[in-house]
């Protein structure tokens, strides 16, 4: 792995130190800086400033409304607004150049549903619709009519998000948040936090890989798949580990006509268009906690599991060729695959923004705002993210999300 050129921090003490400068850390930094207008000093420590291994960069970059928990639906609704209005929001920070347009492709998600799962799927659709989402449940007949290339033989139907779902430019979102935060006085350094000093129930200082120590008023853990490493530095523990996800971009001998949505098969395999190509992935057969530096690819995953599933669901995918592939990490919350957001009850200035289990990118706008509210006001001001509180972890009370991919 290329070691970034380490840079020393400019001050000995900061009001807020954010560990991790990818999309979650940068969203936190953005919302804090906009609310505080330079009244507090903020340091973001990023160990991989080229974002080569960052989950943000390696994400498949999609956003959906189709969740089983109301709070996740609301988080996505806020996220979609940010994505749509991003260029406008970023204008002040891109004076002589065009602000980033996130290239949002609003093709929707199509969750395939087994005959046994129809009732539960319809209940989820009702819930999502009651919150303002545009999900519709399609019986096999209408489903086939709308998506003639789909094999519906073994399906009870499908839940299709006709609006506010699709995919976008993940690095555009990260770059915008980061640029706006820096322009508003946030300091980013290429460095790694290697230790934390806890005194009297507070993190008082962070040690850096270059040997310096910075004091901090609040510490935010936005370390993605390395969240548990940072938690352990403060003597804390969260069940978050890197889980490998293999992404494959392929070409198909036969094209799929029309606006193809992101199709989520019963097998857990997803596939969506990517220009003239297609992007796919699944929950791999070797799923489980991986090493932090393990980005090894398993090509067999495509040949042996993904392709057969794709061919079954979309018979036009009979003849394919993989053009690109990569391995990324989910920051996987092994308790309930939901985020952990909030202060620790005993180390009271240690803030979690972790464990998003593959939703981190799409949830980053709302999570960044929520974290900034907790730091500035001591409570949520807009969306109430208290279901994600840390306390459920030691109590072993999962806050389950059914709709996981």
């Amino acid at each position: 792995m290329a070691v970034p050129p380490y840079k020393a921090p400019s001050r000995p003490a900061y009001d807020i130190v954010i560990v991790g400068g990818a999309v979650v850390g940068s969203s936190v930094a953005y919302w804090l800086s906009q609310a505080l207008g330079g009244r507090m000093s903020i340091l973001v420590v990023e160990r991989d400033s080229s974002y080569e291994f960052s989950s943000t960069a390696l994400s498949t970059s999609a956003i959906r409304q189709q969740y089983s928990n109301p709070i996740n639906v609301k988080i996505s609704q806020f996220g979609i607004g940010i994505i749509r209005g991003f260029a406008e929001r970023m204008k002040p920070f891109y004076k002589d150049e065009p602000a980033p347009d996130l290239g949002f492709k609003e093709h929707g998600y199509l969750y395939c549903c087994s005959p046994d799962g129809v009732e539960a799927a319809k209940a989820r659709v009702d819930l999502q619709r009651s919150l303002g989402a545009h999900t519709v449940f399609l019986e096999p007949g209408p489903l086939k009519e709308r998506f003639p290339w789909l094999n519906v033989e073994d399906l009870g139907g499908g839940a299709w998000g006709s609006r506010d779902e699709g995919w976008f430019d993940s690095m555009g979102l990260l770059n915008g948040f980061r640029r706006a935060a820096r322009a508003s006085g946030v300091e980013y350094i290429d460095n790694a936090v290697t230790g934390l000093t806890v005194d009297g129930g507070r993190v008082v200082a962070a040690q850096l890989a270059t040997g310096e120590t910075v004091s901090c008023g609040t510490l935010v853990n936005a370390a993605g798949p390395r969240a548990q490493q940072v938690a352990a530095m403060a003597g804390l523990s969260i069940p978050v580990a890197p889980f490998k996800r293999y992404s494959f971009v392929f070409s198909s001998a036969v094209p799929i006509p029309g606006r193809m949505p992101n199709v989520i098969d019963l097998s857990g395999t997803f596939v969506r268009p990517e220009g003239e190509l297609f992007l796919t992935g699944n929950t791999p057969v070797d799923d489980g906690p991986a090493d932090y530096d393990d980005f090894q690819m398993h090509h067999e995953e495509f040949d042996e599991r993904i392709w057969p599933a794709l061919w079954h669901r979309i018979p036009a995918f009979e003849a394919l060729k993989v053009q690109q592939c990569w391995t990324g990490h989910y920051e996987y919350n092994m308790l309930d695959h939901n985020g952990i957001v909030g202060f620790h009850p005993e180390v009271t200035n240690f803030m979690f923004a972790n464990g998003f289990s593959g939703h981190g990118l799409q949830q980053s706008p709302a999570v960044g705002r929520a974290v900034s509210e907790l730091i500035i006001h001591g409570s949520f001001q807009t969306l109430d993210l208290s279901p994600f509180h840390y306390e459920r972890i030691p109590r072993n009370e999962p806050f389950l999300e059914e709709a996981v991919i």
Binding site: S251, M297, H299, W307, E318, A319, K321, V322, Q324, C325
Partner: protein
């Protein structure tokens, strides 16, 4: 007529390779491998000749390790009839490969041998020519068009500045250029069927060939990194840089 198509297992063209730390070669550990793209074109051309009724059987052959079976499966899934693996775990060089292929050609007696003009891993571009010399057969290299009529093959070749057409008496050797055709994709059901087909396994020794390398690789290096660009403030500065630094004016 029978057509023989040699296929090589190489690192996938989309993969960015890295040179081993000791400079002894390229690090291939856990990289995606695929059929050499020029060989895919060769398989496709053979299939088209068969579909046009100009050939009856297509035999594919690969010289390499057990994993080269995957490459043969791909060729079978595309539509080849039969496959031969000449198994060796040693690194192979064009002359050794050409000698083995000579042995295969003498056994199989094809009317045409269609090869990729080169493999994308070592870019040698030698095997087809060496094979033609060893067999004493006619050769049409860098083919962008191939037509078979009776006992003759007409090959349009991509040469510097244009196209050259040659007529070859069969049996002959043809090597493929990029524009000869666009190879079809192997389908999943055909790949699954191909995996069940028996593949004839041979050794280099069964053709009386010693594959021991004759060449010694002295060093392998990464290409020089491209220098970052610079911004200039004025046209005058641009012209100055173009004349004095880039030396293009």
């Amino acid at each position: 007529m029978k057509i023989l198509v040699p296929v090589k297992r190489v690192v996938d063209g989309n993969v960015k390779v890295r040179v081993k730390a000791d400079g002894s070669g390229v690090d291939l550990a856990n990289l995606k491998m695929a059929m050499n793209p020029f060989d895919e074109i060769a398989v496709e051309e053979a299939l088209r000749l068969k579909e046009a009724g100009k050939a009856q059987e297509i035999v594919v052959v690969s010289i390499g390790p057990a994993q080269a079976l995957e490459t043969l499966h791909t060729a079978l899934a595309m539509g080849a009839d039969r496959a031969i693996l000449v198994r060796t775990d040693e690194a192979v060089e064009p002359l050794g490969v050409a000698k083995v292929l000579r042995g295969v050609a003498l056994t199989e007696q094809p009317g045409l041998v269609i090869l990729g003009k080169q493999a994308i891993d070592d870019d040698c571009n030698q095997t087809g020519q060496m094979l033609a010399a060893l067999l004493g057969w006619a050769q049409g290299t860098f083919a962008s068009e191939l037509a078979v009529e009776g006992d003759k093959a007409r090959v349009t070749r991509e040469v510097d500045g244009g196209l050259q057409t040659v007529e070859l008496k069969l049996p002959a050797i043809v090597t493929t250029d990029l524009r000869l055709n666009e190879p079809r994709y192997a389908s999943l059901p055909n790949i699954m069927k191909a995996k069940k087909k028996p593949i004839d396994e041979k050794s280099p020794a069964s053709y009386g060939v010693d594959l021991a390398p004759r060449l010694k690789i002295l060093r392998t290096e990464e290409p020089h990194a491209r220098k970052p660009g610079v911004k200039v403030a004025s046209v005058a500065e641009l012209i100055d840089k173009l004349s004095n630094e880039a030396c293009v004016l």
